[in-house]
């Protein structure tokens, strides 16, 4: 990867090795535990192959469409300045942080049979659109993942030094030239990873795929694993399906790594980019339209979530607020762990141990259900797992957020190393001094983004806490689910709104710290 500036092949830094070992042990260990308890892997049936095909199809469509739409949106957001831009960028990230059930209800409030779109069409005398089916799965996945893809691209765009744009302006570059010389290299560096990340997320989709897919046609691999565990208690088949999922993820990551090329712009002075070349009225109008459409698509379902939750928000029982406090603690613990691991992996990758960064993607490659079950199998002989529900949730959530954190940190870590690594080497700057004077300042923005994302994701995650279950120590997402299970849908909507607010506040507070240090 560092072909442009060869340097003596360094030994992978010890922190990176340690982090990779920890992540591998915590992801592959549980998978191995399931396989060992199962006594090997079983043979998948014809229904499993159908599930595999559907899983790949929907994930590929969702990933393709998410990044295709993210390119114009990130571009427009990168080159326009308008009041409320920061708030909009933060808000646009919200869908990614929502528990999937809440997100699905939000989407149906807009696109469902009684949704805004169909009410509007009916008022105009037009036929209704049918959301249930493959189209619904893809719409929902784009809604959930477009924000992540946009943010990853935006981070790449903002990494183009302002000096390059000034040089481009001085050379009389037209938009087409800028696209060719500045934007395309960025996309080449960031797009494959973003697409692979969304693909991997969609591979383990289950609730959204089933609800919006309209029935068992939309059976995904994760649902097949769930069935093997819960309905058939066929552990060998569950292990086989989990291995298939792991293989699929490895293939997607390998493909992305082959396609991606690092963008080499050289160092700049970290000033905000100017876009004089794209200042024609046409380009402005185009960007405004893209931002308006993207915001409408992402914010309308969120508006539905807010509208449904507001009436009962003030009347929520104390249990829900206590659950919110628990979720906050879990989120902060998970964020600290994620950022520590991600930093070690990203810096290691930048210093020539690129394969170590792949460890950061491992958590996405292992089915959450298998991960939770395997961890349970590992913990059970040693301690009562139900007493470990919250720590296990924090740990697994930290792992689940790690792929995004590494994805966000790695380009900046590589750039810092390529641009300033030699200088630091020649000054003999190593260890803590290098971390404090070079790595942390250069990585402030993606670090804060990663911390915010990890905290927000952990606050919203439902998956693992249910597997470890507990004796009352419910997190906020679990409390939302409990309210729904007790017929209290309006209270559940209010608790979901609280969860959305908590996630967004966590993300905003942490992410803002980084942007303050490196103005975006």
């Amino acid at each position: 990867m560092d072909a442009a500036c060869p340097r003596p092949a360094a030994r992978p830094p010890a922190p990176a090795l340690a982090a990779a070992a920890v992540v591998a042990a915590l992801t592959l260990g549980p998978l191995a535990a399931v396989a060992v308890v199962a006594g090997g892997a079983g043979a998948p049936g014809p229904a499993d192959w159908a599930a595999l095909r559907f899983t790949i199809l929907q994930a590929a469509l969702s990933a393709g469409l998410s990044v295709a739409l993210a390119v114009p949106l990130a571009r427009a957001l990168a080159r326009r300045r308008f009041p409320g831009r920061r708030a909009l960028i933060t808000l646009l990230g919200a869908p990614f942080l929502l528990p999937t059930v809440v997100a699905a209800l939000g989407i149906l409030a807009v696109f469902g049979r009684r949704g805004l779109v169909n009410e509007g069409l009916a008022a105009l005398g037009l036929p209704a659109v049918q959301i249930y089916g493959l189209q619904g799965v893809v719409v929902a996945h784009v809604f959930l993942n477009l924000p992540l893809a946009t943010r990853l691209l935006l981070l790449g765009w903002l990494a183009i030094p302002a000096e390059r744009f000034r040089l481009a302006a001085a050379l009389g570059f037209r938009p087409a030239d800028i696209a060719r010389h500045l934007e395309r290299p960025v996309l080449r560096a960031v797009l494959p990873g973003a697409a692979a990340t969304v693909f991997l997320i969609c591979l383990s989709s289950f609730t959204v795929a089933l609800i919006l897919g309209g029935g068992p046609r939309a059976t995904t691999l994760e649902l097949a694993i769930y069935q093997a565990f819960r309905f058939d208690f066929d552990l060998p088949r569950a292990a086989a399906l989990a291995l298939a999922q792991l293989g699929l993820c490895a293939a997607a990551l390998a493909a992305a790594a082959r396609v991606a090329l690092p963008a080499a712009f050289g160092p700049g002075l970290d000033r905000v980019a100017g876009w004089q070349a794209a200042d024609s009225p046409g380009a402005r109008a185009g960007d405004a339209a893209v931002i308006a459409l993207g915001a409408a698509f992402l914010l309308a379902p969120l508006g539905a979530v807010v509208a449904a939750g507001l009436p009962r928000l003030a009347g929520l029982p104390p249990e829900v607020w206590r659950a919110a406090a628990r979720s906050l603690v879990v989120a902060l613990a998970a964020a600290g762990l994620t950022v520590t691991l991600a930093l070690a992996l990203a810096v290691g990758a930048a210093r020539g141990a690129g394969h170590l960064a792949l460890a950061g993607a491992l958590p996405l490659a292992v089915s959450p259900l298998v991960l939770g079950t395997g961890l349970f199998l590992l913990v059970f002989p040693l301690a009562d797992p139900s007493g470990w529900a919250l720590p296990a949730t924090a740990l697994v959530n930290a792992l689940m957020a790690l792929p995004f954190a590494v994805r966000a940190l790695e380009p900046a870590a590589r750039a810092a190393e390529a641009d300033f690594g030699r200088l630091a080497d020649s000054l003999g700057m190593t260890g803590r001094a290098r971390l404090r004077l070079l790595t942390l300042p250069r990585l402030a923005r993606p670090l804060a983004f990663a911390a915010g994302l990890s905290a927000a994701l952990s606050a919203g995650d439902l998956g693992v806490v249910t597997l470890f279950a507990g004796t009352g120590g419910a997190t906020l997402p679990l409390e939302v689910f409990r309210l729904m299970g007790a017929y209290r849908m309006t209270d559940a909507a209010a608790a979901a709104l609280l969860l959305l607010a908590l996630s967004l506040a966590l993300f905003w507070a942490l992410d803002r710290g980084g942007r303050g240090r490196a103005a975006a």
């Binding site: 059930v101 029935g215 649902l223 613990a333 600290g336 930093l343 279950a469």
Partner: protein, 330 residues
């Protein structure tokens, strides 16, 4: 970055609270909605602890099927003394694990069927039914063929991930036997979507996405009693309605078998039975002396109760699922 790791580690340790007590602890595994504040858990825990001189520890695990899967993973090392929340579609598999001991509990059950299972004690029950809004659907269909011939939309749950979903599978099988596959093919166009669990389905129904949702004949009681809304009703089907009987059992390896049996007696006793209808929104297994809560008398009662024995249900399950998948995957 050593300090954040350390801090995270301390937090994790601090989060795992210790649980020590002098009094005997009775651990009951149940489904999650039982232990929530809005479920029967808090009342039953307080009530039993007042008489048992023990600490009742209710541990929630997903739903009934997830509960059984957890128990199979833990086997004889399970810390559970009692498992509460299986239904008759699961008890054959549960009994086959050999983990359960005879309970020896007797009660005068008010079930539409005779009960003589030596391993499992029923604590509440209900009929599956399609729930609708009276105002939006004043004349609901009265049978599966009528539903299939209508232009209505229904939301059902996936039998692979939901106990009501599996209940519907058994309902159609019990009513139509070998004709079940034809019924599913006819119903397929009416099924708007299939959700992983009851909560998502009921939430979509209340949001107005579909005309009917698979739930229980007792669901309208929640809206009436808790919300003062008499607008929801369960459509009565002439084929009869399949039952869900929820049961609890004692684990054979539990060192506190006597205390566990005491708990099951409490569970089928008047205090717990009076708490169940308005927390679990099901019929109590033993009608308490004061009768059912006001409002339950308004509920429609099916003319015919359908229920397979646990052995029949276990034997029919895989073939019935295959029919369902084939009909709905087209």
């Amino acid at each position: 970055m050593k300090y954040p790791t350390l801090a995270a580690g301390c937090l994790i340790v601090a989060l795992a609270g210790p649980a020590s007590a002098e009094v005997p602890v009775l651990t009951v595994y149940t489904y999650d909605s039982f232990v929530s504040k809005w479920g029967p858990g808090p009342a039953i825990e307080a009530g039993f602890e007042a008489v048992c001189g023990c600490d009742l520890r209710l541990v929630g695990h997903g739903d009934g099927a997830a509960l059984l899967a957890r128990l199979r993973l833990e086997g004889v090392r399970s810390p559970a003394d009692v498992v509460l929340g299986l239904d008759t579609n699961l008890t054959a598999a549960a009994a086959a694990t050999g983990l359960f001991a005879p309970h020896g509990v007797e009660a005068a059950y008010d079930l539409p069927i005779a009960w003589d299972d030596p391993l499992f004690v029923p604590y509440d029950w209900g009929y599956f039914a399609f729930v609708h809004d009276r105002a939006r659907l004043p004349a609901p269909p009265a049978s599966f063929p009528e539903l299939a011939a209508s232009d209505l939309t229904v939301i059902v749950q996936d039998p692979r991930s939901s106990t009501p979903g599996l209940g519907l599978l058994m309902w159609v099988k019990a009513a139509y036997g070998d004709g079940a596959a034809d019924i599913w093919r006819a119903l397929a166009p009416r099924i708007l979507t299939v959700t992983p669990g009851w909560s998502e389905a009921y939430g979509l129904f209340l949001a107005g996405e579909a005309d009917m949702v698979l739930s229980y004949t007792t669901s309208p009681a929640y809206h009436l009693i808790a919300e003062g809304d008499d607008g929801k009703a369960a459509a009565m089907f002439e084929e009869g309605h399949y039952m869900q009987v929820e049961v609890a059992g004692i684990l054979a390896h539990s060192p506190r078998g006597d205390l566990a049996a005491d708990f099951l007696r409490y569970l089928t006793g008047p205090e717990a039975q009076a708490a169940l209808p308005t927390t679990n929104w099901m019929y109590p297994a033993v009608t308490p002396e004061g009768g059912l809560p006001a409002g339950f008398e308004t509920l429609a009662v099916p003319a015919k109760a359908l229920l397979f024995t646990p052995e029949q249900a276990a034997a029919l399950r895989d073939a019935a699922l295959a029919e369902w998948l084939a009909a709905l995957s087209r």
